[in-house]
Symmetry: C2
Subunit: 328 residues, 2 copies
DNA sequence: CTGAAAGCGCTTACAG
DNA sequence: CTGAAAGCGCTTACAG
């Protein structure tokens, strides 16, 4: 494999000059530039990124830490970020924490040791000291979907309180009087906020909250929904706290034999690909995932380029997709 | 940020000794080892992986190139590989080609320049010269899901011909006499093989093949299915060529008002998360995605460790999940 | 406009 | 068992 010295020898210049051509330094004469370019092409030379990174003390790599890559919301975010990074010449190191604070800590350390140029983080936990340590090193972090405790990090969020509140109101407005909520994990901001939005809406009309814990997981949500149905024969509405749990909840509803929407109306928070496919098609609050991920990437890049000093927080709104699961 | 010299100074040894401790070289005396370890802990030192990579002319990073990360089959493969890599101390650079040969070529070049230690590739195209160039450099490649033309690459595959043939037979055995196929892209081996399996089964019973092209995409599959239904009023069975296309096909069926399975029976190849949720639940041929991805990772690692010289090919079988979309 | 030289932070033969 | 020194492949002040 040719290196910068082979090219220099071939073009009869110094390796400094080859480097200047590589980095589009304007101080190289056109003739020399052409000669070097020809040598590069002839030898099939590609600069060693690792050597460059070591010398410049920075890489062209961004770290992407997600809490669950199999959640379609995050899958789409990963795709969006990867694609934007590709276009701008960055590489993406993907890390999946499975909501584990230990994995998050470990990955943050690894990414710092790899000298990534910036990190987009869907935090499994917000109060991770490692986050501050990484920021101390000057590596910018953009929190996606959930906040972190260090205020130096930018954040791209959705208004989960409003979404859950509106979802609950949607059922209330359709005359439902016994509405349950399948909650995610309360250690996670998203889970807390959505639960809070549900509680707010219930309080507004003086209905008693009925809450089951689905742990952001399909299997747990299935059991939780089954229990909710068993313990509350009058239940006529359910709000589901995220897309993975909607699979479990739908399964439990199917097994229970209750009709949707006649017996029970349903609203999902998050709008997974299968929402329109199930029968009846599920009414859902969709996050603008693509726009959010894109915003997070742009924020990171502007930080990397030091175009901005003040941390920013962007909050996106959900969009209601009315389908069939709440009746006419 | 402390480097190896700061640690050496702090522990009153040479940086060579620190390096030996870091790399568990047995020749370091226990006392010195302990002293160095203490200094490392006290200073919070973490070795610079980039410098190590440059010196050792290799990295701890593997490249993962997939053709479509939003396809749940590949999402799960990515998750499996990332997780296995994490456990063994490797990093994963994720690349998504969107089935574009140009992106594949570009990513292969980037990964080679980054000196990844090996690559797992779901090829967008099999006859990419860059694949051979990367192999020439000594970087092992494991093809996942689809073959590549260079025989030095290992491969982990599924028996797509048999799966499609069995799927079609499943409908034939249930008395269906006018069976259509929603095909993927024929430039891709998976697409060709599944189409061929369908054709084989149809030939066996002397039925005329009815083929529509869904391009491995949801929207195209929806249009294709709608046309198929319009042009073939007698259609009483459909085999769907992959999971993304099944969303489109189901949507078109729903809009057409035909009843499943009474009017039309349905078998999907691939078993996405929503297969069990739709009404009626979709009968499907599932790939052992997790096992495949794990096998690919193990193959790559054994190559990296040079435990093996001869290229290997592993072929997995699909598993039939009988649900409701083909009747009793 | 160009080159010689130093140095990024490691690892590893070599010598003792 | 330990250290001095070379070198991985680049980039960049410095000098001319």
């Amino acid at each position: 494999m040719p290196n910068i010295k082979s090219v220099a020898a071939h073009a009869n210049v110094s390796s400094a000059t080859v480097s200047r051509v590589l980095n589009n330094d304007p101080r190289v004469s056109p003739e020399v530039r052409a000669r070097v370019r020809a040598s590069i092409a002839e030898l099939g030379y590609r600069p060693n990124r690792i050597a460059r990174s070591l010398r410049k003390q920075t890489s062209e790599t961004i770290g992407l830490i997600v809490s669950d890559i199999e959640n379609p919301h995050f899958t789409r975010a990963v795709r969006t970020i990867e694609s934007a990074a590709y276009e701008q010449g960055y590489r993406v190191v993907l890390c999946n924490t499975d909501e584990s604070p230990e994995k998050q800590k470990s990955y943050l350390e690894v990414l710092a040791a790899e000298q990534v140029i910036g990190i987009i983080l869907v935090p499994a936990t917000s109060d991770d000291l490692t986050i501050s340590q990484v920021l101390d090193l000057g590596v910018p972090i953009v929190a996606l979907d959930r906040t972190v405790d260090d205020e130096r990090a930018d954040a791209v969020l959705t208004d989960n309180v409003t979404a859950a509140r509106e979802a609950t109101r949607h059922l209330i407005n359709r005359g439902r009087t016994c509405i349950g909520f399948i909650a995610g994990r309360s250690e996670i901001r998203t889970g807390r906020d959505r639960l809070y939005g549900y509680q707010l809406a219930m309080e507004e009309v003086g209905q008693e909250p009925i809450i089951a814990t689905g742990g952001f997981r399909m299997d747990i949500a299935q059991r939780a929904t089954a229990e909710l149905l068993r313990d509350n024969p009058d239940l006529d509405g359910v709000v589901i706290g995220n897309n993975l749990m909607s699979i479990g909840a739908l399964q439990a509803l199917k097994e229970s034999g209750r009709r949707v929407p006649e017996d029970i109306a349903l609203v999902g928070i998050d709008d997974p690909p299968w929402a329109a496919l199930v029968s009846p098609a599920m009414t859902a609050f969709a996050q603008p995932t693509h726009a959010m991920a894109h915003a997070a990437f742009e924020m990171l890049i502007s930080r990397i380029r030091k175009e901005r000093v003040v941390p920013r927080e962007m909050v996106f709104q959900f969009e209601l997709k009315v389908r069939e699961s709440c009746g006419g």
